[in-house]
Symmetry: C2
């Protein structure tokens, strides 16, 4: 037998724990993640990895856990600039009296670019490596994301009425198709249709979206059954619950990401399951807007894929997926009345691989497994609020703060190095936010 010698790698990361988020629930202790050409090529115990691979770049992270980067499947990144400007209001008051008027006054390509940069900086710093974004001027978001090196799915907003980005639903659909064409070869960017909500879209554009999303094989993100008001209003005016209408229009399929879903009958849960729809669960936004409780335990038992989203920072008010994962795990128990619901490992999968599946990106990312892109985060667990580490998965879900995220890689490229952003300038972003604060205050 010939000894071929050690294999070349670009980066080897040794850590106390590697949590892969794969279904086998294996946690590797004192192990090494080996990365080459932007991909994971091996996970092995630290000792044997050191003999099997050679590289000039080795990182030793005792007391840290490596895990897949978090995947935020629903948000409106640029709204970070509206953070805290209108709180303690119901969804419809908040939208109609505050958010929509401010958006029509302030939202521009520059607003979106700078707001999205701020949001991306917050997301990278807190361990998110991929986000789906439903906001105006998605080109600007794509530019901000690719410059920062983070993975993004652009769910371009389609809405009947004119807005700063599109004059009509028809116009938004055209722009989305063009966007898809322009970014299709970028490894970080994917596209989707983002029809806003059943109550803001008529049937014709929805039919067109069904057709085009099949043709392009891209996801459709839509706010659905966010509040009881939405469902009751639709029943009153049309005699039909929104999901029934969307089902009639052919929208329910594995390509659909049904965002919020706080109002579901058992029959509707069965329908989501049989049609392969994903639910984007946004627990903190749902709590803050008093929208209702998404029945996460029932959904997962019914086999529905559920991913996690923060929603925009104007209704959360942060983009912290560690906090969101923890809230999801805690809330699922209370809502189902069963403390065994959504146990720690399942919550961790919801924030990673189940999110990747929702976006159609699960072959690329979402777990730490050989062949996948190296979308990885390192979390320091030897901190006062995480010790003793009786169970690293429990600590990651129930007691870790996102400030313990020390390193972040996307496609093997390091975006956070010991807590410092490598592709964005924090000071500049803080100053830009301060300028927006002054503009919005002076002229609102």
């Amino acid at each position: 037998m010939t000894n071929l010698g050690p294999v070349s790698a670009d980066l080897m990361i040794h850590a106390s724990w590697i949590v892969t988020a794969a279904d086998d629930q294996v946690v590797h202790k004192n192990a090494c993640l080996v990365i080459a050409e932007g991909k994971i090529i091996d996970i092995a115990d630290s000792h044997s990895a050191s003999t099997r691979y050679k590289t000039s770049s080795v990182l030793n992270l005792p007391g840290h856990a490596l895990m897949p980067g978090l995947i935020n499947i629903h948000g409106h990144a640029a709204m970070a600039l509206f953070r805290g400007i209108a709180d303690d209001l119901s969804l419809h008051t908040w939208l109609e009296q505050y958010i929509w008027p401010m958006e029509s006054k302030w939202v521009s390509e520059q607003f979106v670019y700078q707001g999205t940069q701020l949001a991306i900086a917050e997301m990278i710093s807190s361990g998110t490596t991929c986000f789906a974004d439903m906001y105006f001027f998605p080109d600007a978001s794509a530019r901000a994301a690719t410059e920062a090196g983070i993975r993004v799915q652009l769910a371009s907003p389609v809405i009947d009425f004119p807005n700063p980005w599109s004059s009509s639903a028809e116009d938004a659909i055209k722009k989305t198709s063009r966007l898809h064409d322009e970014w299709r070869h970028n490894t970080l960017v994917s596209t989707a249709f983002g029809p806003h909500a059943p109550y803001s879209l008529s049937d014709e554009p929805l039919k067109k979206i069904v057709m085009l999303s099949e043709l392009l094989d891209i996801p459709v993100h839509m706010h659905i059954h966010e509040t009881s008001f939405e469902v009751e209003d639709a029943l009153r005016t049309s005699g039909q619950r929104p999901l029934a209408r969307l089902s009639d229009l052919g929208l329910l399929s594995p390509r659909l990401v049904c965002v919020h879903a706080t109002q579901l009958t058992d029959d509707e849960i069965a329908l989501l399951s049989s049609t392969g729809v994903t639910v984007a669960h946004c627990p903190e936004s749902n709590l803050k807007l008093a929208s209702g409780f998404c029945p996460v335990d029932k959904l997962t038992r019914a086999g529905v894929n559920v991913g996690l989203g923060t929603d925009g920072a104007a209704s959360n008010n942060d983009l912290d997926m560690f906090s969101e994962m923890r809230t999801a795990a805690l809330l699922a128990k209370a809502v189902s009345g069963d403390a065994r619901a959504l146990p720690a490992y399942k919550a961790l999968q919801m924030a990673t691989i189940h999110g990747a599946r929702a976006l159609g990106l699960d072959r690329l990312t979402g777990t730490l497994e050989p062949g996948k892109h190296a979308d990885v985060i390192a979390v320091k667990l030897d901190e006062l609020n995480s010790v003793p580490v009786h169970n690293p998965v429990s600590q990651l879900v129930y007691s870790t703060k996102s400030s313990q995220v020390k390193h972040v890689w996307v496609n093997g490229r390091q975006l956070l190095d010991n807590g410092e952003l490598t592709t964005l300038n924090k000071q500049t972003l803080l100053e830009t936010a301060q300028q927006w604060q002054q503009s919005l205050e002076t002229l609102k």
Copy 2:
């Protein structure tokens, strides 16, 4: 008029915002907190304070908000050593099959001292300046707290059955009276009775506690109506709901801190209000153990004082009052179905002055007002997840992470300096926790 010249102070802290937590909801901008002999002597705009006071110690904190230290009114500090050892279980399974057996095996004076030190370090680091603690060996907790310089209320556990600290309820009551006597002259320490729960105590010791708490004028902390099981079980075996029994026994008074209270009828809410009982709301623990939802909005509307607690780190799994405050604010909206419920400022008061009132300490602490002890924290708001600062109170409640707490003072003594503990050694605490992790793992 004679000019008497500037007044001497020990410390002047200039900050961008001072949030006092007083009922007037005033937020001072570009202001200075002036401290002398451990107390707040003034809050003034930065410019005039600089002419009116002189001191050798001036701290300039642009971009920071000063606010009262957070007050955690319910916990079991030493249980930090059990963090993450048993999750995703109902309260009764968790207690009976995991926590109680582990406690009887492991809990000693040393366990409590070291576990409480770890908890205190986590609490100081995350902005808590005062905590109530219900755990065995309260002497050890008092020692840990006074050495660290944090304010504590010892709610010594009273329970019918023998435990590592007391042989009987009678014994625990005696020990509590002695504890009160020993610590009564320490400015950081106060005492209380901690009868565990209605289901773990017979009438006789409860009657004695009523008498002694009146005599000594000290609070009584008790887990009450934590789960529906507790209430239904009491109804089944005695024909009475626990609160009715406690009312008959004379326990309901402004001295009582009713911990959890997830199961309340409207009549019971009226009873709590008319008797002046405080509720200690522990939202994250209630969620995690699927105990039920405390009707916070109804309680506060009925005029019931509500404070906040983390509960022990074994059912939370951290001691982070920023997270708890945020969860309380979000959850109150969802539970009441009204996004206007528990607005940001009220949540901030719940985590500060309302907690102080619960512990009978509101004349000493809980707000930033002249005459009160200087229990103060400085929170850095110019961070990616907190900008733009359209509203500092909203940012403190809805988007601040406890890692943004940079400075902490209790009685004017600095316990956290730019994120570093001044009275405890972090490295030693991490190593001790690691030793406990190994002990518990090896021998469990």
